[in-house]
Symmetry: C2
Subunit: 474 residues, 2 copies
């Protein structure tokens, strides 16, 4: 977490506890800078962030004041499902929602992808041309699982540089992260087994459980702190959980991140119960300020963690190149891959290996991170301004999803249908649950910086939500 984020967090806590009451003027930037021994820009950024979250407002030529409205957006409270295992039947709803939102030309607030213009597609196309011109014909049939050797080395190198010990030998290249995740799940489960997932959870995880006839044990995931480790400990104690599928970093949909002590405790629980973890880490590169804590995989001395990554969200959407560093399960995953899709497209693998070897990735990532950070500020500010009082917002430190919890009475599934008619697609909360919870929540994609329809669309959502609340009262 950045210095300014930490400072903003402290102030937010004071506001939440009422110690900074509505209407109170915050110290001037110069005062605060002196008191806290931080630069004026740090203070300014903290204030700006608080404003973005709707906690304070700036009054021209006067300064920043704690907002007076009762309905200050606060972080959504942790969810609390019973940690029982249950059969999953969510796919039809998910498909119904996703298929409706695939109409071209919609404002992509429900999309799973950031804007395609954020990626170096021309550089990738050049890497593709170069590598395919150079290709020895025999290679075209030799890059079978575990995958293209130079690419696996590039990936292992990136792990190494960030302090996580992973060998190229345990890396299996897959068709995007989704294949990495589902093959990993298959490698350690049998139909009927119980698998722990977050609540809310990425809908594709729930669909994978349903398809493989696994049972879900839903562990509450706090939009601020991430996974509820006490609930997990309890579930591991009481249920025969065969695997966990979690996103400790920039969780989809809440945006939460489990802190470093939490990760150590998670690893301890996994080891204690000998339960493998499928660590979905596809947003790790997309931090807005400082990097997130190292992945749980970095703490894994016994090969229990299958760490799944991808280039689809940070570099090369559509190339369909992901991977899993599968620890002790690498052989099983590789075999499962050989039996289902054989190999990953050779042109895509070679293009990425060539691009990564050529440099430029870090520069691209820095730019992408800055863009997403700016977009988050914009999204939070607009949400604070346009959404009804009582709406709570997640506070993602990375990625491009904002979790929005409207007051009870807003039905986001109904809103999604209405929004479609207005040309806006949405991801309603119910698709992130086995039990149709989160009916008043939305996952809002803010990763399309060039789309001028973003602000008006947020206004429309605010209007729809307010209308639902009015209807409820009348």
């Amino acid at each position: 977490m950045n210095r300014y984020q930490r400072y903003a967090g402290e102030l937010a806590a004071l506001i939440a506890r009422g110690e900074l009451a509505p209407g109170t003027r915050l110290p001037s930037v110069r005062e605060a800078s002196r008191q806290r021994r931080v630069s004026p820009s740090t203070v300014f950024e903290a204030y700006y962030l608080l404003q973005a979250r709707g906690l304070v407002e700036s009054r021209p030529r006067s300064g920043f004041y704690v907002r007076a409205d009762a309905g200050i957006p606060a972080p959504p409270p942790p969810s609390a499902p019973a940690p029982r295992s249950r059969a999953v039947a969510v796919s039809d709803l998910v498909f119904e929602v996703l298929e409706a939102t695939r109409r071209p030309g919609l404002v992509p607030l429900g999309s799973a992808f950031p804007g395609a213009e954020l990626f170096p597609l021309q550089q990738l196309a050049r890497a593709l041309s170069t590598s395919m011109r150079r290709l020895e014909p025999a290679r075209i049939v030799e890059d079978l699982p575990p995958g293209h050797e130079p690419l696996r080395h590039q990936i292992a190198l990136r792990y190494g540089l960030s302090g996580t010990r992973v060998t190229a030998g345990e890396i299996v290249i897959t068709n995007g992260a989704l294949e990495a995740l589902t093959l990993s799940l298959q490698a350690v489960t049998q139909p009927g087994d119980a698998v722990a997932v977050e609540a809310p959870a990425f809908y594709a995880a729930l669909q994978a459980l349903e398809r493989l006839r696994l049972r879900a044990v839903e562990i509450p995931c706090d939009p601020q702190r991430g996974l509820d480790l006490a609930a997990l400990a309890d579930a591991l104690q009481r249920r025969d959980v065969k695997a966990c599928w979690f996103m400790p970093t920039f969780h989809n949909p809440t945006g939460s991140t489990l802190d470093a002590p939490g990760r150590r405790e998670l690893m301890r629980l996994l080891e204690q119960h000998e339960v493998p973890l499928i660590e979905d880490d596809v947003y790790a590169e997309l931090y807005h300020g400082t990097p997130p804590p190292p992945p749980v995989k970095a703490l894994d001395a016994r090969g229990l963690v299958m760490h799944c990554g991808s280039f689809s969200k940070c570099l090369a959407p559509g190339y369909r190149v992901g991977w899993v560093a599968a620890g002790r399960f690498a052989e099983a995953v590789m075999r499962a891959k050989t039996m289902t899709t054989l190999s990953t497209a050779v042109p895509s693998q070679h293009a990425l290996a060539t691009y990564l070897a050529g440099g430029g990735y870090e520069r691209h990532l820095r730019k992408l991170r800055r863009t997403l950070a700016r977009q988050y500020e914009l999204a939070a500010r607009l949400a604070a301004r346009c959404f009804p009082a009582g709406t709570r917002l997640g506070t993602p430190a990375g990625g491009y999803f904002l979790w929005v919890q409207f007051p009870q009475g807003v039905d986001t599934l109904a809103m999604q249908r209405e929004a479609l008619e207005r040309g806006i697609n949405l991801a309603p909360g119910q698709i992130f649950s086995t039990t149709r919870r989160f009916a008043n929540c939305l996952r809002l994609n803010f990763g399309h910086p060039r789309d001028p329809r973003f602000e008006p669309a947020l206004r429309e959502i605010g209007t729809m939500a307010a209308g639902m609340l009015r209807d409820q009262r009348s």
Copy 2:
């Protein structure tokens, strides 16, 4: 079937029945040409084919004679497993064999792929460059299942031109045929269900059954005539078969093709029992002479057939683009695809659409077919010359596999291990069976025309086989 193939078939039947006895001189090319009202070159090609199959020999300045040796290679007899369903446990053996054969530099007689130099890889690379340069960024995330629209139209068009009615709407683009096949299988089965497969069967089909916990009902497949329809009728009557997975055209491993009346009967049986067919048709384009009969899909009025194709064997290995025309199951397959690997690599899809639209595919195919036809003749001739008396050979009319059945006493699994030490990889018969049958058989890949080691390798195999037979007698 070509005229010369038909003529050769008639002569082969006369030889088999002893009506053309060993040592008999065949009519001269000129005589036969007059008698049969065919061109001299047709006669010559027929004689040449018989020589390739080891049935006749040419004596310099004298003509063609029926060979004297008792051990004339004859087609292997049909296999005859009991049509009971059984759990499948073949994967470990398959992996053991396949992984051993992946060492680079081996003579690729056991390979599943033809030589990479047979494909227009440079033209494809150009199509790839062109299409990725032209790509609108938004397309990179929009080619989700069912897949790239122009490619689906190109595929539908090819069906249409060959007389099979398929709409683009029922085509789902997949990561090669293997994904098409396994998703199709998943779309129509539940764990524990019985699925009819050929015996011998493509090992990946057996692995898919094992992975999905399905039971196999093995239907004998005659190396000449293909699927035993009487056995299938019996199995469909007596067992609750939920799906069939067959390769009616250039079957892997036997090379057999079911004739047109057989296809009609197969379709009738499927309709009568309401059983879906997964039609694995990846070699259809690789006919040596005349095209094979239209696929079973062409007879399918009710959407029961899921016809799986691929560009991996005929145009673009490594690009990993296959498809299924899934009839009434298209929606289910598309959903399964969305849940497992999301989309197929966009660069590969666009490259193929661009290549196909640009023309040149037919020319490439004509050349490839001629090359494989020549290679088959060479392989059959060498096999007839180098393999022990009593060896029987399949007679593929397409593809690049020759099914070899050695006399009892030859153990091809032991031979495979010995061959590996001599730098040759082999596909022993046992990997094509759930019950380790076909222990004296080999699937021989003849699709590497530029490999000078082919002839010496076949000699070595012959020597090993002869050695095993000698050891057995002593």
